[in-house]
């Protein structure tokens, strides 16, 4: 807020508070009764469902390939570095919690929301660093994308997920910038929800990919 010639007389007293947000959302919804509120907007959900279907096919491809040659898949699986996969799952879950808390902070008009989103971004960075160390170790062990079908799928599917994470981190960086603004409009909040939902998607895809690749035995 810069110079206000009216000394705040015409300022919205609820601006930046939970109540202010409630008023904005209610006004935005044209005062129609709300049975449910779409988090973010419907466009992102169509996009998310597309991704979920694509990854659903990836999961099915992987499990049926595993049943074609269970011995080779199990031998290859045992050479993976389980700890990295597990810690990365925990990291993404922490990131997801930060997203939820960040959005909540934004709704209540807290000036600290951007710090929480920044923490989320850092968990993503940590994941990426872990992933590269893990790739280096697997390659160092003498395996690569062409070693066998297991490693082929391992590298392609985890890299596809990594690409999603990098996109989610770019989105989160945008959210940090938005959250740094002194006052958050309904539009600001919607952007945070859109990129937040995308972050959760990246999280939940890893929540499935990790056990399928690293944990499942035949």
């Amino acid at each position: 807020m810069t110079q206000d010639p009216f000394g705040g007389m015409f300022q919205d007293p609820f601006q930046g508070t939970a109540r202010g947000e409630a008023i904005r959302v209610a006004a935005e919804r044209d005062r129609k009764p709300m049975r449910g509120r779409i988090p973010g907007e419907i466009g992102i959900w169509i996009f998310l469902f597309g991704d979920m279907i694509a990854f659903g096919l990836i999961f099915i491809t992987f499990v049926s390939a595993r049943m074609d040659d269970p011995v080779m898949f199990e031998q290859s699986r045992q050479t993976l570095h389980l700890t990295f996969g597990a810690i990365n799952t925990l990291l993404l879950l922490c990131g997801s919690l930060f997203v939820v808390r960040g959005i909540r902070a934004m709704r209540t008009g807290s000036p600290n929301a951007w710090k929480i989103f920044a923490l989320c971004w850092l968990t993503g960075l940590w994941f990426v660093v872990n992933k590269f160390i893990e790739y280096a170790m697997v390659i160092d062990d003498g395996h690569n994308i062409g070693t066998n079908l297991f490693y082929g799928y391992y590298f392609i599917f985890t890299a596809a997920h990594l690409l999603h994470l990098v996109l989610a981190m770019i989105g989160m960086a945008v959210v940090v910038r938005i959250a740094k603004r002194p006052v958050h409009t309904a539009k600001d909040l919607r952007w945070a929800e859109v990129f937040g939902a995308y972050w959760h998607l990246v999280d939940l895809l890893w929540v499935v990919l990790f056990p399928l690749i690293y944990l499942m035995r035949v």
Binding site: A26, P33, G36, L93, V100, R104, P211, M216
Partner: protein, 106 residues
């Protein structure tokens, strides 16, 4: 503003207020459950427990976690039911296919 408009606005605001409060409360508990489930799957997958049971348990656990993320983190619990059910359909369909493939072919 007519009285009905004011009533409607008050009602809407009450719903939004409730949604805001509601969305935050169990999130920490859900997060703890998710972290714990990850650790248990890690332990089970790391060579403990019966193989066949562990494989199915690992798949089911993963998709239960996904459903929790959807409901509590992505706020699908307070979203329009169609959206929520589309999401939950994925959470049931995909693991069913995966377990089906696993059990039929092992």
């Amino acid at each position: 503003m007519t009285p009905t408009d004011a009533d409607q606005l008050e009602q809407d605001m009450a719903i939004v207020d409730r949604n805001i409060k509601h969305a935050g409360r169990p999130v920490l508990v859900v997060w703890l459950v998710l972290m714990l489930a990850t650790l248990v799957s890690w332990y089970l997958g790391d060579g403990h427990g019966a193989t066949k049971f562990a494989a199915v348990a690992v798949i089911v656990t993963a998709f239960v976690k996904v459903a929790l993320v959807g409901d509590h983190f992505m706020e699908l619990r307070t979203a329009p039911p169609q959206l929520r059910w589309a999401f939950m359909a994925w959470c049931v369909l995909v693991p069913s296919i995966l377990c089906g493939i696993y059990l039929l072919r092992s």
